[in-house]
């Protein structure tokens, strides 16, 4: 201890340098892995942006698809996507949040709830085409809901239901047990605890899960094609607001429709280069929609979490 020589110190330093070499190697490997992932996506997106750039003018958003590439637009597709998303949210949010709350706050813990839990996790991994087949048999044929916006919304709602349930459960689990006990100790009922505490405190997490689920649903193509969405549609669904009483109409729910990914798929399968540019431009719009939703999720989470701390 007392007589550490300069030779020993030098040996110590060589030893440290040798071990830290591995640190450096792993850091480089990590950066490389990250770069491959990010660069690939960046190149793909840049290529799409370059190809589609010329088509991204206002008329592109206000024109229906057309046989002439230069006049074709995505009006019916983006309106269809937005309307289908509304139905998707209306289906998935109440069902998913209620199921998640029940599983966390009400369900007894025994084998049946374990089975349900395993199945929900499995559902999240079911290929989306299977949901399309299910919807075709159930919603289109058995319930006769038609190849409509409501069928598409129901299908995508089911598709993202497991995502919403899992996000709800995780958000609820992040609430410390002492907060629950604090509410119960003051004489709160289970529902009061849920309404005053569990729901408000898990809301940021639930919203994030819902929006991430929606961002996935908006890009889904396979189940929508399976239920028979049109690939060429040159009219809009009936407006939800009408001039005459009762001023609100739900006819649009039964309208035929198309959505962004189907429009893109349709244009990609055309031989003309001009349609490829349209597809690229629509792809940029779809990615922008997805990014905007994710951005909204991050912003909402940040805003709401500021007031929740334990």
């Amino acid at each position: 201890m007392t007589g550490t020589t300069s030779v020993q110190v030098a040996r110590l330093r060589t030893n440290i340098a040798r071990r830290k070499l591995w640190d450096l190697l792993f850091a480089l490997l990590g950066i490389l892995a990250l770069a491959i992932g990010i660069l690939t996506i960046a190149v793909l997106f840049a290529d799409m942006l370059i190809n589609g750039w010329e088509r991204l003018h206002p008329e592109f958003f206000t024109h229906f698809p057309s046989r002439r590439a230069a006049q074709a637009g995505i009006l019916s597709a983006w309106v269809g996507s937005v309307l289908v998303m509304l139905v998707t949210a209306a289906v998935a949010v109440p069902l998913g949040v209620a199921a998640g709350i029940w599983l966390e706050e009400y369900a007894p813990h025994h084998w049946l709830t374990d089975v349900i839990e395993i199945n929900i996790n499995n559902l999240a991994g079911v290929p989306s085409i299977i949901y399309g087949l299910l919807a075709l048999g159930l919603f289109v044929y058995a319930f006769d809901l038609g190849q409509s916006i409501r069928t598409a919304g129901l299908t995508l709602g089911l598709l993202i239901l497991p995502i919403v349930i899992v996000a709800t459960r995780e958000a609820i689990r992040a609430i410390p047990q002492v907060i629950r006990e604090g509410a119960y100790a003051l004489g709160a009922t289970r529902w009061q605890t849920v309404k005053h505490h569990i729901l408000p405190y898990s809301l940021p997490g639930i919203l994030t899960g819902v929006i991430i689920g929606m961002a996935r649903a908006i890009g889904e193509t396979a189940p929508i094609i399976t239920i028979g969405a049109l690939t060429f549609i040159a009219f809009l669904p009936p407006a939800p607001v009408t001039a005459a009483a009762p001023f609100i109409s739900f006819e649009w729910l039964q309208a035929p429709f198309t959505v962004m990914p189907i429009q893109i798929f349709n244009w990609t399968s055309r031989p003309e280069a001009a349609f490829q540019a349209n597809a690229a431009a629509a792809g940029v719009v779809l990615i922008a929609m997805t990014l905007a939703m994710n951005g909204l999720a991050i912003w909402l989470r940040y805003r709401l979490r500021k007031n929740i701390k334990w």
């Binding site: 410390p176 002492v178 907060i179 604090g182 100790a185 003051l186 004489g187 005053h196 701390k309």
Partner: protein, 263 residues
């Protein structure tokens, strides 16, 4: 009102634990405990970790009902109406409306100071602004917090210091006018100055309410309590006046614990 003598003392009684056993699944955490709680006195539960003192405290307000697999045997009788708090026919919500609890770590809700204090009233459906305002002032005054927070009642509770948060939780517990106030190691997460202020507060509160406190800190038990119960491995080893327990314990195991030979 109530002249049942309180165990060893000839004081009015507030509650009595009778032939009490408690099981977590098949594990028996509390074995045949009998003890009184004297009215408007402080009773301390002491003992080494895992002795069952917190389990006993949490039985008083039926916290164990929140989790499956827990089982009570015996009675905890609340005076003067002699309701058995453990009776399955007695709704745990009723029990928790009569007894309040302060937890080990301050657990204010992520809401305003005001909303925290009147949460018990909200639960009961009281929404009249003037009633709630009075309640907030009264409870915060009782908890010695009013002067510090009266100008910022609508700030979030987590902006308070740890000691203030715990006094807020005491105010929240007092606002429902409980018959018994349960403290589960209320100062274990606090610094010495905050601890001293909570202990002082407990001394003041016993004028108004019966107090049962679990503590790891024997000096705290000696300072704040009138009666002390020493528990070990789920059994009540000794119960008596705090002075007597600390000066001349009757049981060797109590003596070993309070002299610091183990625990």
């Amino acid at each position: 009102m109530n002249d049942t003598p309180c165990g060893i003392a000839s004081l009015p009684i507030k509650a009595e634990v009778k032939d009490f056993n408690f099981y977590y699944g098949s594990f028996q955490a509390i074995k045949n405990v009998n003890m009184p709680l004297c009215d408007k006195k402080v009773t301390a539960l002491i003992g080494p970790s895992g002795c069952g003192k917190s389990t006993l405290l949490r039985s008083f307000n039926r916290m164990h009902d929140l989790y499956s697999g827990n089982r009570y045997e015996g009675e905890i009788v609340l005076h003067p109406d002699r309701t058995n708090l453990l009776d399955p026919r007695v709704d745990p919500i009723e029990v928790r409306m009569r007894l309040s609890m302060v937890f080990q770590k301050p657990n204010p809700f992520p809401k305003s100071i005001y909303e925290n204090v009147i949460y018990g009233q909200r639960v009961r459906g009281v929404n009249k602004r003037s009633l709630l305002d009075d309640k907030v002032e009264q409870a915060l005054t009782q908890a010695a917090l009013w002067n510090e927070v009266k100008h910022r009642l609508h700030d979030m509770a987590f902006t308070l210091s740890g000691g203030q948060q715990q006094r807020l939780c005491i105010a929240r517990a007092l606002a429902t006018e409980p018959e018994i106030l349960l403290f589960d190691e209320p100062t274990s997460a606090l610094d010495p100055i905050a601890t001293a202020s909570i202990e002082e507060l407990i001394q003041e509160l016993k004028e108004q309410v019966t107090i049962l406190i679990v503590t790891h800190n024997m000096q705290q038990a000696a300072r704040v309590s009138d009666f002390t119960a020493y528990m070990y491995l789920g059994e009540l080893i000794e119960f008596g006046y705090t002075d007597e327990i600390f000066i001349k314990p009757r049981d060797k195991r109590t003596e070993d614990y309070i002299t610091g030979r183990f625990g």
